[in-house]
Symmetry: C2
Subunit: 145 residues, 2 copies
Amino acid sequence: MEKTNIIKRIVDAGLKKTKYRVNIIDLLEKADNLLSANDIHSILLKENTKVDLSTVYRTLDKLTKNNIINRIELEKENKSLYEYNRKKHHHFMICKNCNKIETIYECPLSEYEEKIQADSNFLITGHKIEFYGYCKDCQKKLKIN
Amino acid sequence: MEKTNIIKRIVDAGLKKTKYRVNIIDLLEKADNLLSANDIHSILLKENTKVDLSTVYRTLDKLTKNNIINRIELEKENKSLYEYNRKKHHHFMICKNCNKIETIYECPLSEYEEKIQADSNFLITGHKIEFYGYCKDCQKKLKIN
DNA sequence: CTCAATGCAAACCGTTTGCATGCTC
DNA sequence: GAGCATGCAAACGGTTTGCATTGAG
């Protein structure tokens, strides 16, 4: 994504444009996997962008609350992970052996939510699914199948 | 559940029968909601069963690994919750307002897993679903609908 | 100029661990 | 008696917070 578009997203959200916000959005937009606050902090330091961890946390918080990025909390991860918000509803598959995370861009639950709602007292507004299993490599490694 | 049955479960799992293991299983079996390590610790103290928090953690760990209880990690809870393992596959609904947790004893994903598997390189062995929304009380309170 | 963003250091909180002692089998 | 379970105190790791300083609009 172009820098100008990143800045537009920040300003459109009513946020101040700062160095770290631009940097972090850029970085997440380019990343092809989920990143933790610590991952992001390390990457920035490696790029000679000196920044405090607490600033990274505060930035991620702001961007999450403004729906520019998503905070993902997965079972067995003791930390939050972040992704650029591409506005496409999706879920994850997690390898129980190597912890690789793959995205599923498809959702089986749209009609089911209505059904559940009819049966319950809850007004359902969303859901989260995680699939567990073994990725291709680990199936081989562990000789599963 | 009778004490003798609890003890049977412990012994059958090849574990030593100890005071706290019996106590904690009993407590979780009777509980009608999910409990945290800290909840359990407090309840035991209140019942005049003096026990260290670290022992509670170690006990919960052992029981989880032996499938006598389940460890549940829900989004937005920064701590693990535990339930007695009734061996029935189920999911949870979480109220975004009051955090009430309700159980859904029904699963929409059994066939879907096969489909996803055909489309991907993963060998899927399980999944987890959380539904978010508003419970009956909070719908009223917040005047939703 | 004002208020929000940042750096720094310290606190927080759930959880884990090392070690000496106690208990179950 | 051997080895696991427990208590105690301390560490751990991700995250948050208070406060003084800097920077964006």
